[in-house]
């Protein structure tokens, strides 16, 4: 911890504090003030996370910036925070997106502005909490608390079918988390048997010996929680609904941040706590991942709704991430992590782009567009860049992770790699085909003919994201070097049986 300053607590509670402050402005009369406070809070929230990057020791795999206070002594639950190479980048990614989301909703959100902005700020703090928790109960509290603002965001500011989507989202994720809660309580009991006193510390769980059958049950319980969030193939159906109905900011946060907590859960919980079960069930995970990559890729090809298309593309890309994790080598895991970061930038940018068009035309249907590039050349340039990144073009961030995962997969099994590599074809097909239909060709209708190009505010948002996408594609080292030590440590840990 540098200067003994509780950086992680600040990263969690500062946005929440500003969220409450925004909420206090109340009525829509004060919307300009609410927007300003929200922006200040979001930017400050991002700035306070920067020392996490600069002060991070890349050489060690241990937890850094640790904070620990007794929280619920009755159950030996602690307020225990800390980050390693796996979690640090996600806190940065999350805090980075909050100001963009605030800016994206600047003009578009007109009703209940304060509540909208507050929901995003509070959510940003909670998500930082998810990534920084080293106590299972603390993690669980943040994990579930995340549902409340997202439920409201989809339900209040969403599209026509918002109520269905919001309730589906909530119940789907709640089911998974409740089983995870039971797994935690079981681990608490087991740690009481082994260590003498029950513990909710995640690091204690990593070292805890667990019999084979229990490991498999724990793995399944975690799988229910994390696979829903990722989302993996059979439990992915909430995502297209939630994405389509959510407001632009909601879609961005869902795609860029929320999907990452599930994959992060696999790395932090499932694999190190139940390594033997992970090895034993890896074939299931790999199969589901490959189904996501190939089948969902084909599904994306068929979509007529742009948001749905990007939503399915997200599921397909996340399949790549879980594939990388469960081939158990450094290429795979680091590739998966880089893919998560890149997907955050790219899908966030795609949803923001679709939001820009939706704000002007009020349609998400591909068929309602055509020839947008004639009227919005600057915007089209940006969007094509992000579309290229989405299809994994070398030189963009999308390429780095996919390439590493495929490299890792080749080492394990050639066929895994071959099937995974089809994403480069399908991804290019569905993304570029959409771009072609929306942006090129003749101007198709009245609405498109009246389009005006993006404003300065929107240009700023897209420029920042474009720099990230290109920067990460050309020079991924600053991202990769953060995680080497922790990933290597994880791989060593996974090599040791816990039976």
């Amino acid at each position: 911890m540098i200067f003994g300053f509780p950086l992680l607590s600040v990263a969690i509670w500062l946005p929440i504090f500003f969220g409450v402050l925004v909420l206090a402005t109340g009525h829509d009369r004060n919307a300009p003030i609410a927007r300003m406070i929200a922006l200040v809070g979001a930017v400050l929230g991002f700035l306070v996370t920067l020392p996490l990057y600069t002060g991070f020791d890349k050489m060690i795999s241990a937890m850094q910036f640790e904070e620990m206070y007794v929280w619920i002594p009755h159950f030996n639950i602690n307020y225990h925070l800390g980050i390693d190479g796996i979690s640090v980048l996600f806190i940065l990614l999350n805090s980075f997106f909050t100001p963009l989301v605030v800016l994206a909703g600047w003009k578009v959100i007109e009703k209940r502005v304060a509540q909208y902005m507050a929901a995003f700020l509070i959510m940003s703090g909670i998500v930082n909490g998810v990534f920084a928790s080293l106590d299972a109960m603390l993690f669980y509290v943040f994990w579930e608390a995340m549902l409340i603002p997202m439920f409201l965001i989809i339900g209040v500011w969403g599209g026509a079918n918002r109520v269905y989507a919001a309730v589906k989202f909530f119940l789907y994720t709640l089911l998974g988390s409740l089983l995870m809660l039971i797994a935690f309580i079981y681990l608490y009991r087991q740690s009481g048997v082994v260590l003498g006193t029950g513990s909710f510390s995640i690091l204690d769980y990593h070292a805890l010996p667990i019999p084979r059958v229990e490991q498999i049950l724990i793995f399944i319980a975690f799988f229910m929680a994390f696979a829903v969030k990722v989302p993996m193939f059979p439990v992915h159906t909430w995502l297209p609904d939630a994405h389509v109905e959510a407001p632009t900011g909601g879609s961005v946060v869902l795609a860029a941040i929320m999907l990452k907590v599930g994959a992060y859960g696999f790395l932090r919980f499932s694999m190190p706590i139940a390594p033997d079960a992970s090895h034993e069930l890896a074939w299931v995970m790999i199969t589901l991942s490959l189904i996501a990559v190939v089948y969902i890729g084909l599904v994306a090809l068929m979509q007529s709704d742009m948001k749905k298309l990007v939503a399915y593309s997200s599921i397909s890309h996340m399949g790549f991430v879980t594939l990388g994790f469960f081939i158990f080598n450094a290429y795979g895991i680091e590739g998966g992590l880089l893919q998560m970061i890149s997907h955050g930038f790219v899908s966030g940018a795609m949803f923001l782009g679709i939001g820009v068009m939706y704000d002007r035309v009020h349609s998400r249907q591909i068929a309602d567009y055509g020839g947008v590039a004639h009227k919005m050349p600057v915007f089209a340039a940006f969007f094509v860049l992000f579309a290229m990144a989405n299809s994994g073009l070398p030189g963009t961030s999308g390429f780095v992770g996919e390439f590493l995962v495929i490299m890792g997969a080749v080492k394990v099994n050639f066929w895994y790699a071959l099937l995974a590599a089809t994403t480069l074809i399908f991804g290019a097909a569905y993304t570029l085909w959409m771009v072609k239909r929306v942006f090129f060709g003749a101007i198709s209708n009245e609405h498109v003919a009246h389009l005006s190009d993006i404003t300065l505010r929107e240009k700023i948002i897209f420029s920042i994201l474009a720099v990230c996408v290109l920067g990460m594609g050309v020079y991924p080292l600053p991202f990769g070097e953060m995680m080497h030590a922790s990933v290597n440590n994880l791989i060593v840990h996974l090599g040791n049986s816990k039976l």
């Binding site: 007794v70 339900g155 309730v167 709640l174 409740l178």
Partner: protein, 483 residues
């Protein structure tokens, strides 16, 4: 003087009895328009009670009146919480009762007598005193449910409550008489000793136990003895339901502890099996039926059935962990249920009862603050962190998993998932839907402050639940004689 000072553990009950009688008489001389005087007197009585309980606090367990009455940490904690809930109920219901012409001396005196019954139940360690406490509470409640004489629904509810309640009391008495026949004593601790030494006829004991458990299940409203709950909740004036739904549950908890744990701990293997069935059925019927309700009070009734099922899981897990968890659960439940019913009284006006789900439509547009408080209460009922309801569920689940019954824990979480749906629906109505009427909500400053306190308490206990858990665990540990 010396005899009088030996009564110290019972000062609170004596004071309350005296005050209730005084208020009954004083009220005769208070004009109908100045019932606020009576109201203030009642609130002062409650403050006095709290002070007495604090000042007569002594560590350890004191028995009184030939072991009929016991004073220990658990009884002190539960009594304090009962005073607080009764006081909150009176604040919440003042304008509600005024608008319905029920703001009368009778209501307040009956409330005090019901409280006295609860206090006797909490401190009873003898079958006789238990029964007296229970009947004093129940009779007052029957009368209160029927207080709205001109309402057919209320009268029907009172009738059902009375008949089924009397049946339950009969069952309980019958069971107690068998336990008496088997052990030869009515003193709870002596019963426990007799069972332990094997002098009691085991068949007769188990037979008696069945009736006692059935009687308890009736009073708690656990399935399949729950039929009265929805009708009473729907029909009775909201202020009375608030009392039935919060404070009486605290007393019922003490009743269960004294009877099943202090008295019949040796028969745990029998009663825990019965409680499993009651608990699982309650969670199933409560949570599933609640989905179909359109009346908010009826929905809360089914929700209370489901909560009682969860509560029983803690009881049947046994040990300090289990009893502490169930006490924590019941305290949190009382707090949430006070808030939820309090919300009904605030949204109701003269001639309008806000007891349908539609009354919550668009509340966020009419009053964002009230909607936010209700949001906290509903998420807490559903057991979503960071609200207190989550820790209540968590500690019960921890206790049940500790006994090795993971399958029961999985059943419990699956039903609470179903439960989450109907609480979520309230949030949906408040936040996603447009209001049906734009009638401004007039909130009295005192009840407005109280609902804020109530909602924020649910959040604060969700962020800092540790101390209350410790208090509950200590209360149980220092008070129950775990043989």
């Amino acid at each position: 003087m010396s005899y009088f000072s030996t009564l110290a553990p019972a000062y609170a009950e004596i004071f309350l009895l005296v005050m209730a009688c005084i208020i009954l008489i004083v009220d005769l001389f208070v004009a109908d328009r100045q019932k606020s005087a009576t109201y203030l007197l009642v609130q002062l009585t409650l403050v006095g009670l709290a002070l007495i309980t604090v000042y007569t606090y002594q560590p350890g367990i004191a028995h009184l009146f030939k072991n009929m009455f016991v004073d220990d940490l658990m009884s002190d904690v539960l009594k304090m919480l009962s005073y607080i809930s009764v006081s909150m109920i009176l604040v919440y219901s003042r304008s509600y009762l005024l608008a319905r012409g029920l703001f009368t001396g009778e209501f307040m005196v009956l409330t005090l007598f019901a409280l006295l019954g609860m206090m006797v139940m909490i401190s009873a360690s003898h079958f006789l005193s238990m029964y007296i406490g229970l009947e004093l509470m129940s009779l007052s409640l029957y009368a209160m449910v029927a207080l709205q004489r001109d309402s057919a629904v209320a009268t029907e509810a009172a009738m059902k409550y009375f008949i089924l309640g009397a049946l339950a009391s009969g069952l309980l008495l019958y069971g107690m008489s068998m336990l008496y026949g088997a052990t030869g004593t009515l003193d709870v601790n002596a019963v426990a000793a007799a069972i332990k030494h094997g002098v009691a006829n085991p068949n007769l004991l188990v037979f008696g136990l069945v009736f006692v458990v059935a009687g308890l299940a009736f009073k708690l409203g656990a399935v399949p003895f729950h039929m009265w709950v929805p009708d009473v909740y729907q029909g009775a004036p909201t202020s009375v339901v608030m009392l039935i739904g919060s404070a009486t549950k605290l007393a019922a908890f003490a009743f269960v502890m004294r009877l099943l744990v202090d008295g019949l701990q040796q028969l745990m293997i029998h009663w825990s099996g019965m409680l499993v069935i009651l608990a699982v059925l309650s969670m199933a019927v409560g949570n599933i039926s609640a989905i179909a309700q359109t009346n908010f009070k009826r929905m809360l009734a089914y929700s209370s059935i489901a909560h009682m099922g969860f509560f029983l899981l803690g009881v049947l897990s046994g040990g300090i962990d289990g009893y502490g968890a169930s006490m924590f659960y019941i305290v949190i439940y009382a707090l949430m249920s006070l808030g939820a019913f309090g919300m009904i009284t605030m949204l109701s006006r003269e001639g309008y009862e806000a007891d349908t789900l539609d009354a919550f439509k668009g509340l966020n547009q009419r009053s964002p603050w009230l909607a936010f408080m209700m949001l906290l209460l509903m998420f807490s009922m559903a057991g979503v962190p960071p609200t207190a309801g989550f820790y209540a569920k968590f500690s019960v689940l921890e206790a049940i998993i500790n006994t090795g019954h993971i399958e029961i824990a999985i059943i419990a979480v699956l039903f609470s998932l179903i439960g989450a749906y109907y609480y979520l629906r309230i949030v949906k109505l408040m936040y996603f839907d447009a209001p049906e009427s734009h009638e401004p909500i007039r909130i009295q400053p005192d009840s407005g402050l109280l609902i804020s306190f109530n909602g924020l308490a649910v959040l604060a206990l969700g962020i800092m639940p540790g101390w209350l858990m410790t208090v509950c665990a200590m209360a149980v540990q220092k008070s129950l004689l775990l043989h």
